[in-house]
């Protein structure tokens, strides 16, 4: 008691600033004690949950496999299967278990097709998991909506496409992205209709994802891509160019040639790349005449094209560019020359200071 009074007396005679500092210190100290105590609890919970998660994952894996092999007829649900469904219905009312079950089912359905996959979709509906996913679409938080769409995609729930189409213009990028993935995963090329009036930019990442999904399917009948090549949305044009290349859309060549006159330089480069892939010769005259006005990346792309399709008539143009300051163009020019006129290449006179060209020639000769 005496000590306490002494401390109190000491504190009272202190200058205000020091008093404030002590008050802060005491607050910090209490906070730290609280944080330490909670850290202990947090770590215990995390560890417990992890053990529980692994346990349930194993249980559900085994249940799921048993379920899949318990039915003799895929169209009918056996009594054994019905029992499992009822048990699951109870389990999944707890979010923790529901997430694990969905994860296990997703993992399998990703790698499996055919009857087994169909059986899993059916299970998703029968257990009522589908209702939880649909409920998520109505949530306010974007991450919940997105995960709802993700689940509906994984288990191929086609009949809700109208709901999902509405979300294609959602203000949050991730929701839009998931909605696009849903449409393309479930309706393939038909699902790409959203590109017609897309206002947002489609990121490179999205484009790659969409292409990957399209390539998964056996049905590779692509719809007409001209409308997208002519889109005012640059990213849609970029995506259409990728489609043109992957699906060999020779018939869109006219539109591609028009794109060479586009304002966007990067787009022009990508167009040249597609034409290179098509071994197109028609674009040569235009690109040659515009060569000096184009950006360096366009010039490099054009020379890549020439490497595929150069003819004797290109010789002068190619020789002109042997001393081009850009290394890649120099290399391409010399390679082309060797192809179209080996004699000329062998007796080429290179300016003394053009050391790069000399190295390139030596390299080409030895390969």
């Amino acid at each position: 008691m005496n000590d306490y009074q002494n401390i109190l007396e000491y504190f009272n005679q202190l200058p205000t600033l020091v008093k404030v500092v002590w008050v802060i210190s005491i607050a910090l100290f209490t906070l730290i004690l609280g944080l330490i105590a909670y850290l202990k609890i947090l770590r215990i919970n995390l560890r417990r949950n992890e053990i529980k998660r692994i346990k349930y994952q194993e249980i559900y894996e085994e249940h799921l496999i048993n379920y899949l092999y318990a039915g003799d007829n895929i169209d009918e649900i056996s009594t054994e299967q019905r029992e499992f469904i009822n048990k699951m219905k109870k389990d999944i009312s707890i979010e923790f278990n529901r997430n694990i079950l969905v994860a296990v089912m997703t993992k399998l359905v990703n790698d499996i097709s055919g009857e087994v996959a169909t059986a899993i979709y059916k299970l998703y509906t029968e257990t009522g998991l589908i209702d939880y996913s649909l409920q998520k679409l109505k949530a306010r938080k974007w991450e919940i909506i997105a995960s709802g769409i993700y689940e509906l995609t994984q288990f191929e729930v086609k009949h809700v496409y109208k709901e999902i189409e509405k979300l294609i213009k959602h203000p949050h990028k991730e929701v839009r992205n998931q909605a696009q993935l849903y449409l393309v995963n479930l309706f393939q090329f038909k699902g790409l209709k959203f590109l017609n009036d897309l206002e947002y930019q489609l990121s490179e990442w999205n484009q790659i994802q969409l292409l990957e999904i399209l390539q998964k399917f056996d049905n590779q009948e692509i719809t007409d891509i001209t409308i997208w090549l002519k889109s005012t949305n640059i990213s849609v044009v970029e995506f259409a160019l990728k489609l043109a290349k992957v699906y060999n859309q020779f018939e869109s060549k006219e539109t591609l040639l028009e794109l060479l006159r586009h304002d966007n330089k990067e787009l022009k480069v990508q167009t040249i790349n597609v034409l290179t892939y098509f071994y197109d010769t028609e674009c040569k005259t235009y690109l040659k005449s515009n060569f000096h006005q184009s950006s360096e990346s366009e010039q490099i792309a054009f020379f890549k094209l020439l490497e595929n399709v150069a003819e004797n008539s290109d010789e002068d143009f190619v020789i002109e560019n042997i001393s081009h300051p850009n290394f890649k163009i120099k290399l391409a020019a010399l390679k082309i020359l060797k192809d179209i006129n080996p004699d000329k290449f062998n007796y080429l006179e290179i300016a003394k200071n053009n050391t790069d060209a000399k190295r390139i020639i030596e390299f080409i000769e030895h390969n």
Partner: protein, 123 residues
């Protein structure tokens, strides 16, 4: 000594591997399950299976290296089926170059796999 034919299955998706194990056991094969390429090589060396099923992308040692090890180091002629995901066409080509006999693109149907397994093991 059982006369069941032995299959080593290397696959890091535990659910898929369990599903295939049940399925192939039902067909009368003896299954050894590896979760990664390293375990696969150990099981192959220990059991000299009649068939190897292997995913291409796996932790620790890839399916390609498993094939390379089986064909070049162990000099075994055992048939190998690889599983690949979409977009791994290049890897599949490499797998064939290294000596794989067949491939299944994911997602695949387990029934189809059983047909191919039977075909390879009966000839």
């Amino acid at each position: 000594m059982s006369n069941k034919k032995k299959i080593v299955l290397a696959e890091d998706n535990s659910t898929l591997s369990l599903l295939l194990k049940f399925r192939l056991q039902k067909e009368g094969y003896d299954l050894f399950i590896a979760a990664d390429g390293k375990q696969a090589i150990e099981l192959i060396e220990e059991h000299t299976p009649e068939l190897i099923l292997s995913d291409i992308m796996m932790p620790y040692i890839s399916g390609l290296e498993v094939i390379s090890h089986v064909r070049n180091k162990l000099e075994m002629k055992v048939p190998i089926i690889v599983f690949s995901a979409a977009g791994q066409e290049e890897m599949v080509l490499k797998a064939f170059n290294l000596g794989a006999n067949d491939f299944m693109g994911k997602p695949f149907s387990p029934n189809e796999l059983v047909i191919r397994v039977k075909r390879l093991l009966s000839s």
